[in-house]
Symmetry: D3
Subunit: 159 residues, 6 copies
Amino acid sequence: APLTHFDAAGQAHMVDVGAKAETTRVARAQGHIRMAPATFALIESGSAKKGDVLGIARIAAIQASKRTSDLVPLCHPLALTRVAAGFTLDAGRHRVTLEVTAETVGRTGVEMEALTAVSVGLLTIYDMCKAADRGMIIEDIRLLEKAGGKSGHWLADCK
Amino acid sequence: APLTHFDAAGQAHMVDVGAKAETTRVARAQGHIRMAPATFALIESGSAKKGDVLGIARIAAIQASKRTSDLVPLCHPLALTRVAAGFTLDAGRHRVTLEVTAETVGRTGVEMEALTAVSVGLLTIYDMCKAADRGMIIEDIRLLEKAGGKSGHWLADCK
Amino acid sequence: APLTHFDAAGQAHMVDVGAKAETTRVARAQGHIRMAPATFALIESGSAKKGDVLGIARIAAIQASKRTSDLVPLCHPLALTRVAAGFTLDAGRHRVTLEVTAETVGRTGVEMEALTAVSVGLLTIYDMCKAADRGMIIEDIRLLEKAGGKSGHWLADCK
Amino acid sequence: APLTHFDAAGQAHMVDVGAKAETTRVARAQGHIRMAPATFALIESGSAKKGDVLGIARIAAIQASKRTSDLVPLCHPLALTRVAAGFTLDAGRHRVTLEVTAETVGRTGVEMEALTAVSVGLLTIYDMCKAADRGMIIEDIRLLEKAGGKSGHWLADCK
Amino acid sequence: APLTHFDAAGQAHMVDVGAKAETTRVARAQGHIRMAPATFALIESGSAKKGDVLGIARIAAIQASKRTSDLVPLCHPLALTRVAAGFTLDAGRHRVTLEVTAETVGRTGVEMEALTAVSVGLLTIYDMCKAADRGMIIEDIRLLEKAGGKSGHWLADCK
Amino acid sequence: APLTHFDAAGQAHMVDVGAKAETTRVARAQGHIRMAPATFALIESGSAKKGDVLGIARIAAIQASKRTSDLVPLCHPLALTRVAAGFTLDAGRHRVTLEVTAETVGRTGVEMEALTAVSVGLLTIYDMCKAADRGMIIEDIRLLEKAGGKSGHWLADCK
């Protein structure tokens, strides 16, 4: 498994996907943001009543998925056919989890779109709570699952 | 410390920074990407000879810092006066660390610019190595230090 | 007819269009800008001789159609195959009308692309004439017609 | 009051604001979207319980204000220091009103930023409700007030 | 004169301009596009009567100047205070010349903004005439003059 | 061969490509940047050891190809399936040549994507070396070859 983003001379390129079939491709990614208990309480109550941090982070995540090929230099542009973003609150670890599913019908996978959405969604939570808590940490952004295309189904080991 | 991004009625807004002084503001952020030993070896050798993954990720990080207010909904647009991005290779944990410093002379801080640069830099490493290793994990994106502005100097606890 | 942009739990998502057929889709939208008689005269003469306000607004409208999915959070990105923008001058009401037709061959409609083009075209007229007339009003931006896709042909009631 | 966006030869340019003073500049703009009673009811209940159309439109409006100089060809880029967007529901006319206030400390006004935010906020409502109601009409986008800069305070006639 | 865009270790960065004075900075750049005589005739007549190629290229040039820091990786973002773009037709050489002047009041020069505007303006002419003439050549894009900032006034040798 | 970007009334539009077949389309474009011998030496040594000007310009070129329809007003948006950018150093003329190949499977050609990539790649070299040499000249940006689509294969005359 070499680095496909480089040619034989070591020069970066956007790899040729023109001969790949247009198939349905799905990717699911996840990440967390851990914070102080008081910050967690603000988000938890906010999403119920006022100051909807997670609603705004969800929109930021979805919008970021559409900017992926602008941000990641060798990513192919593609037309997403579905993006969904869901949050889970873990009160014990005062941690918010964001999971994003992205889909397309195209010639290349959407892992980067799902991962970019997760990253920007979590950054948005950081932004909105940073006046209260600068020490928040974004943890363990990873691909959970990938389907479609020649490489077939892939599922992350743990979690 | 309430959530400043919401007004008294709980509605999101871009907070008023018009009365703040234009001062030099600096932020330093960090994150890691952990990978399989073989992937780490590819990056390590690549940055020396051919297939310069880290050189490309550095450019992606710097460019992303300039897109921060496009990505994070309530971020103020601002004119960065300096961005630097450096990588450290930890062979023991086969982990790459990216640290970004961002600066401006303006009315609001640049934490989000530094954090966004770190996130996109690490996503770019993921993208370039994903054909070899889908299980890479982006870890512990956090603010390390912040200076300038009324809130003064802030330094992360650990690390 | 519920709000399809929300799932059963009320969370926003980019709806799944992956199973829809790729068909030719057309949308036609319209809007107006009403102004002082003297401003109208400036535009009218300008488009003939010098200071081509409408020529510039047409370009802005076409370019904006390509940015729609960047601006409207839950819009799908798509590849427009045609955009045309035409102006009509109504000297009696000193009002300029902009009508835009957008087309694609894809899985989802182009109403938002046509409406966004109309909006930005009219904003551009406002911008270029605002030194002369701050009281201009952008009126009645609406969809006129829509064709293609499962929902079939739709034609606005009046006008 | 000629068209300042053209030079003596009738050629468009971005006008020189380099000699203008950096002052606080504010603009307030407004627009409406009128819809079928059933659509209005969906939005009204939604903003209370689930399917927060207005929360998402508010974010779209704020983000669009930051893209103004990308969309309107001869607009100067500028660093907004505040953007706030508020909705009013008029049950009698089943109409939603969006009012946006934009501010900067700079050399040129922010009318276009406020007007662009209003336009995109209303387009977002259209997008989210269009499956239920294609006949919605965006009405009367206009500047309400402008302060700061050499031209001084301006207040719209009516409303 | 070393390459300032790299640090002592050879790593790219966005150079620190935070300590530079905010002064008026001007840059003037130029480029040409040479074409078949018949294509030149189309542009020449078009700009007089219908099919205003140069009017559209002028708008594209001005808009591109605002995207410079998005396109050129290590460019600082800055707020342009003036951009003007003028065309000259050379019937003898059937060549169109585009000259752009860009200005800001800031901490860094605007050479790249002027050069980017020239490049995109000429690319737009190519795009609009390519159905008639694929052999057009964009020639001699260069900086003509630069003023403001510590490095002082610079004037190109020839032409 | 008229100007297809204008309708019968001389008004610009994005031409209708909806009826064209989706075929593989390729374009190859080229340009040069000429500089002082000392600047050429900096780039030459830099690409070997430290300060990788060409590596960064390659990334800028690839990324710019993805922004083409944002920059060139009447260009159709399309999903590139491959982009490759290669440099050649001509020590005799102290000139760097950039050649870009772009491909898509779509309804319209990718000439503008290849030409835009070349332009921005060369602008990036200018940016990174301008502190050493303001007199660099970007020369002879042109299409070399085009294949796919109804107009068939096209090859530039000379070179």
